[in-house]
Symmetry: C2
């Protein structure tokens, strides 16, 4: 029931996803009539869907605390319950991000060895695609949070980017060992001392994101959120300048006809729908957030992320990594001194 | 003596700046022979320059601590001394950023009412030009630092962007009052309670930067540094995709001929040399950092920033604002409890 475009987009997206991965089954939670009407347009999808009716919907402007009260009967809550009860392998929602995060955390709980779940997402880069976390779930992060993010991020990159030994970098204001705050310095030290199933390259700077210098960018949720949105904003600004440039004269309009194909390829390369699908990592269950403004193609991308994580048995992998590394959970004693 | 292109670029830049603002006088510190040779190419500039010889140079890979030992005799140190001794109104350097920051802080000291100096810079946006601070001088910032940054940033925007009542926003992960960490929430509360000589609009998100939603973006040095570099990286990535697109076929190469003029205008709009000139705000003297890779045009932009600050009597303005607002310096008692 979520997303700016509502059930029609979700159903179209599911149909696309099914055509790409036949055998997928969908449990759809929400208004039976509306979903049924949309399904009528997709003969093939109908057989792969079971509808679970509810009238209760989390609104886009509900606060997380309000949404939590609707955990038991809202379409969003029921979808997460299905994951908890293992009647679904993964939940995908285009609804209210804060509500989805709060409900997922409340209903699925954090995995052993993880102190805080993080929001991870895909980014287009010069080298291809990278992932970044945390994108805003945790405003302040200590060294152990960052170490855990690195481990989860690498496992996610293996599952989604199909890289055997992903490269992982910690975002910082410089690459030298002494740069940055205590959290990043200590996290780097801990990661360097571990025998990791991925390649920890140390610190990376902001411009590494466009460059794609590593597969996994690890940072706190404040920096990650601001940096991601700043990048999106700059990309939109340049796109608008480009549009103006092509419209600026008869000559440049004519020129556009010659380069239209290359420009469309460029647009497709940066299309946010291709990089759709933020995941809450670190819970006892998989939940994918599809961007509210995503179209059916975008929703299908989010379902693909969901499906890749299931095929890879991602939670199991992370649990194994955490167990092997030990150090991820905060095992050093906390001593109160006064 | 600084910058990737050395004295030739600096002298060419000074010549450009002089042609745009006749009457400017330059004190040049460094190798007399090399500077003299470069000056020979610029008859008009020669009369506006006095050369102050020194053999000692801060290298680009010197640590701040090493550079500090060369405060008294290096070209960088002598330029800052000239500001301290009021034989110059402002210093401009294309040298080692960390060294310049450390030396400036050591030799000029922080202004009364300012706890920490910040690095401020110019950004191209959809609306025109905005400024952002801190870009990396302070890794961790408390609420008073952020309030002081807002006051300094607004004064800088008035001087450089020629806006009477600049709009100022605090970078955050959302615009709602409850978002973010304690520092940004408390800083916003303090700013809302003050009678400011600028318009405090509250929180702004990362994508506001490309949009240019405010004249002044205020954030801590960690977030500011990562967000700025991420934006630069994405811009370079898109530029490289554009280059590829125009080279991708005979047709698109032909098309480029038609749009070349518009594309060059776009490039000029985003040219980093136009937005060159980072300033260390909050010291008892003005120091401008020109980007190491800037060309003569870029260096002239940095000199223009320097000159605008001098004409505006920026330090005096900031001192007045701080005095009037009172609250900027941390006046609440600090109580140690154990």
């Amino acid at each position: 029931m979520g997303g700016d475009l509502g059930p029609a987009m979700v159903v179209d997206g599911a149909a696309l996803a099914l055509s790409r991965e036949p055998g997928t089954r969908f449990l759809m939670f929400g208004d039976e009539d509306r979903i049924g009407r949309e399904l009528a347009r997709h003969a093939a999808l109908k057989d792969a869907v079971s509808i679970h009716h509810t009238d209760v919907v989390v609104r886009s402007d509900d606060r997380p605390s309000q949404a939590l009260r609707r955990s038991r009967d809202s379409s969003m809550g029921l979808a997460i319950q299905a994951v908890r009860d293992q009647s679904a392998d993964v939940a995908v929602s285009a609804g209210n991000t804060g509500a989805l995060m709060a409900m997922s955390k409340f209903m699925l709980k954090t995995m052993p060895g993880i102190e805080r779940p993080a929001l991870i997402g895909l980014l287009p880069t010069k080298r291809g695609t990278s992932v970044m976390l945390d994108l805003g779930a945790n405003i302040e992060c200590d060294e152990d949070n960052l170490v855990q993010f690195a481990i989860m991020g690498a496992a996610f990159a293996s599952a989604i980017l199909h890289v055997d030994r992903p490269s992982v970098g910690l975002m910082n204001v410089g690459v030298e060992e002494l740069k940055g705050n205590e959290s990043v310095r200590n996290a780097a030290e801990k990661l360097r001392a571990m025998e990791l199933p991925f390649e920890f390259v140390g610190f990376v700077e902001g411009d590494g994101v466009g460059e794609g210098t590593v597969d996994v960018f690890v940072t706190d949720g404040f920096t990650g959120n601001v940096a991601l949105k700043a990048s999106e904003g700059i990309a939109r600004f340049i796109a608008s300048l480009l549009g103006e440039a092509f419209r600026s004269s008869v000559l440049s309009k004519l020129g556009y006809l010659f380069v239209a194909r290359a420009m469309k390829a460029l647009q497709a390369r940066l299309d946010p729908n291709k990089y759709n699908g933020g995941v809450f990592m670190g819970l006892n269950g998989l939940v994918v957030k599809s961007h509210g403004s995503a179209n059916a193609e975008g929703f299908a991308s989010a379902v693909k992320v969901a499906s890749d994580m299931v095929h890879d048995d991602l939670i199991h992998h992370i649990a194994q990594d955490l167990e092997r590394l030990g150090a991820a959970s905060n095992q050093s004693p906390h001593v109160a001194v006064s």
